[in-house]
């Protein structure tokens, strides 16, 4: 069989692309699917494969969910807390920063790099730097507060402030990514719309409300979905900013993923941990579908 030049090119393209696919299937899908299997088993991490127990792990999670002080209940309420604090803060701040960055010309690259740098920094490094900033007495924030005669705050050391303190770091870390996406979206809006609106006498807030915001809708939907997912999967920051990585103080910062890790590798109950990941998977799926369904709007101009 003789292939045309174009067919051969396409074949080569598939050949190269398939390497990534194979990697994806073996390294990500296969283990992910295994966890569905493990979730149905009484699986001790030390012993490996255990007997099939049906829905027992899920039943255990369900029971724990309704115990007032269980780790899993704390994990789910905190994770919801991170999303509720983090996502709106991130969306609003990133949009504000993007609009400002869009205005400036001088040093604009420098500013973009500054905002983007945390995003490409390892979460562990970020966590340690912020641990130092948050330190009582010797930390930078404590010293600034001292100068301003504001009482020092316990931040991550207090069960009341810890979650918000970590959420703030998570927002700071991922802000740059949202800013870049917003900037790209803003650049896409044709200048003619603004010009036409100005001729009709619109200005400032009205331009923003009726042109910028509606036309950014696809970007906003995309970023909301992505940042929601990233907050639902929060792990490294909490692991490194809570005392001994326990999600404390008093379980006030633990997340679902952290509990997965602790159940699987500290309590050696891999079945329970796998079931918890499956639950998280469906929670993320559900939230994403709902967001895509209700946030997407079409605006025609």
């Amino acid at each position: 069989m003789r292939l045309t030049l174009r067919q051969r090119q396409v074949l080569w393209a598939y050949a190269f692309l398939s390497i990534a696919l194979v990697f994806f299937v073996i390294i990500r899908w296969y283990p992910a699917l295994l966890s569905f299997n493990i979730a149905f088993r009484d699986w001790n991490t030390f012993k490996g494969a255990g007997p099939w127990v049906g829905l027992e792990n899920y039943a255990a999670i369900w029971d724990d969910l309704w115990k007032p002080r269980s780790d899993v209940r704390a994990a789910f309420t905190n994770t919801l807390g991170y999303v509720l604090y983090g996502v709106p803060a991130q969306m609003v701040l990133a949009l504000a920063v993007a609009l400002l960055l869009d205005r400036i010309r001088v040093l604009s690259t420098l500013f973009r790099v500054a905002y983007f740098a945390p995003y490409v920094t390892s979460a562990v490094a970020v966590a340690f730097v912020w641990n130092w900033l948050y330190l009582p007495q010797t930390g930078l924030l404590a010293q600034v507060f001292d100068l301003l005669r504001i009482p020092e705050q316990p931040f991550t050391k207090s069960p009341d402030q810890a979650l918000a303190s970590i959420a703030a770091v998570a927002v700071w870390q991922t802000l740059g990514y949202s800013v870049i996406i917003y900037l790209a979206g803003i650049k896409q809006i044709p200048a003619t719309y603004y010009e036409a609106a100005r001729i009709d006498g619109a200005a400032g807030a009205r331009l923003f409300q009726h042109i910028t915001l509606p036309l950014l809708n696809p970007v906003i939907v995309y970023l909301t979905v992505l940042s929601t997912i990233s907050f639902l999967r929060l792990f490294a920051l909490v692991q490194n900013m809570s005392p001994q990585g326990t999600g404390g103080p008093l379980k006030s910062t633990t997340t679902v993923v952290l509990e997965v890790y602790r159940k699987g590798f500290s309590s050696y109950d891999m079945g329970y941990a796998a079931a918890l990941t499956v639950v998280l998977f469906f929670v993320i799926l559900l939230i994403t579908v709902v967001q895509l369904r209700f946030l997407t709007r079409r605006f025609e101009y």
Binding site: W29, T45, K47, F265
Partner: protein, 401 residues
């Protein structure tokens, strides 16, 4: 439309993979590999412990001596894993079919590791029960489960109180009469604390740090001194939820709330504060002597037995112990090498090296009751504590903290 087709392909792949997963339920990795019958061949065994500088150096030395005496055995020493991740890494190594043949573990983890069939019983002929009973510290009895010995320690340790002589002198206290009762500890710690005008701590009298050793101090010492018991006899229920527990807890809290003698969040915990010469009193194990010798050799400090209260003297006794894993026992030559290695690292000779380098007292009574050791101004307090030390029976150590 491209998207539906792509989804369809992805869906098929997923279903196919699920099929594979369902059919080929992953089994235990086959650990046992057929082994050649050669006798004089080199046997390699892998030994793991967590990363603690003094222990690593001491073990390196022991391994060197062991290999010199057993030229056909090579011991691979893995001590790269930090304490916080040690248990997790061991757990993760099992399904991967790798990991140690001989592992060092905290005695409190034994229950959970045995539930998982991770450790094998130590051969009775190499480690007879009578020898453990007669020649090892009483604490080592916790290594027997239903009469079977699973692990054996090189050293045991107890808690005692470290005090910084220079800081005491600077505060007008007599550095030669450190606190001997809980009340004295409270008053001396308050006297020793120095704060700046804005309330910042410059010298901390005493730092309560439950993330360090103070959780042991609370359970096995304070609760008993206030008239309670920390756990039920079978180790299954917590019994410090009592009047005595409340009083013990209030005593701990007082240092933070009322006396304001320190904050564990400064200097990254009480140990660092003491090492940095910023804390007067500190409760810790004898292993800290090794840390101080390595990191703060100029610290002018002393060690006394833990303060008593209501006439009750107590301390927490514990030990790190060595066991042979399923992997180590899967092959006769390796098991043989592992047993020899364990016999060596739990010998009198190893105990003497260990106490010099790490500061933990030899588990062997012979080496542990060395008069020179008991007379040592620093080790003496720990050695004296061993006589009345209480070891918690841990059902699930991390959860019981």
């Amino acid at each position: 439309m491209k998207t539906p087709r792509l989804l369809w392909i992805l869906g098929c792949l997923t279903v196919a993979l699920l099929g594979v997963v369902a059919c080929v339920a992953p089994g235990m990795p086959d650990a046992a590999e057929p082994m050649a019958d050669a006798e004089p061949e080199m046997v390699e065994i892998e030994y793991w412990q967590y990363n603690f500088e003094a222990r690593v150096l001491a073990m390196d030395r022991l391994i060197e001596m062991f290999e010199a005496a057993n030229p056909n055995i090579k011991v691979v020493h893995n001590a790269d894993v930090p304490y916080a991740e040690y248990r997790d890494k061991i757990a993760a190594s099992v399904p991967a079919g790798v990991g140690p043949d001989v592992a060092t573990l905290f005695y409190g983890w034994q229950t959970v590791w045995l539930d998982a069939d991770y450790l094998v019983p130590l051969p009775e002929d190499a480690f007879p029960k009578a020898m453990i009973d007669d020649e090892f510290s009483l604490l080592a009895q916790a290594s027997f489960v239903d009469g079977t010995l699973y692990t054996i320690p090189t050293a045991v340790r107890a808690l005692a109180m470290f005090y910084n002589k220079d800081l005491m002198a600077a505060a007008g206290l007599d550095p030669e009469s450190p606190p001997t009762t809980l009340d004295e500890l409270a008053s001396q710690a308050a006297a020793c604390t120095v704060r700046a005008d804005n309330g910042d701590y410059e010298v901390q009298g005493f730092v309560v740090d439950l993330a360090a050793q103070d959780h042991h101090w609370f359970r096995e010492v304070l609760v008993r001194q206030f008239g309670g018991e920390p756990f039920s006899a079978d180790g299954q229920s917590v019994t410090w939820n009592s009047e005595a527990g409340q009083q013990a807890w209030n005593y701990l809290l007082k240092f933070k709330t009322e006396l304001e003698t320190g904050d564990r969040d400064l200097f990254d915990g009480s140990t660092s504060a003491f090492l940095a010469g910023r804390a007067c009193f500190h409760i810790d194990g004898s292993f800290r002597l090794g840390t101080i010798a390595n990191n703060a050799p100029d610290l002018n400090f002393g060690v006394v037995e833990l303060p008593s209260h209501n006439g009750v003297q107590s301390t927490f006794g514990s030990y790190w112990t060595h066991g042979i894993t399923q992997k180590g026992a899967s092959d006769p030559a390796r098991l043989d090498a592992a047993v020899k290695f364990l016999q060596f690292v739990t010998s009198d000779e190893a105990g003497s090296i260990w106490v010099d380098m790490v500061g933990e007292l030899p588990a062997r009574l012979n080496a542990g009751s060395d008069p020179e050791l008991l007379a040592d101004p620093k080790l003496g307090a720990f050695a004296a504590g061993l006589a009345y030390a209480q070891a918690t029976f841990f059902v699930n150590e991390p959860d019981q903290r």
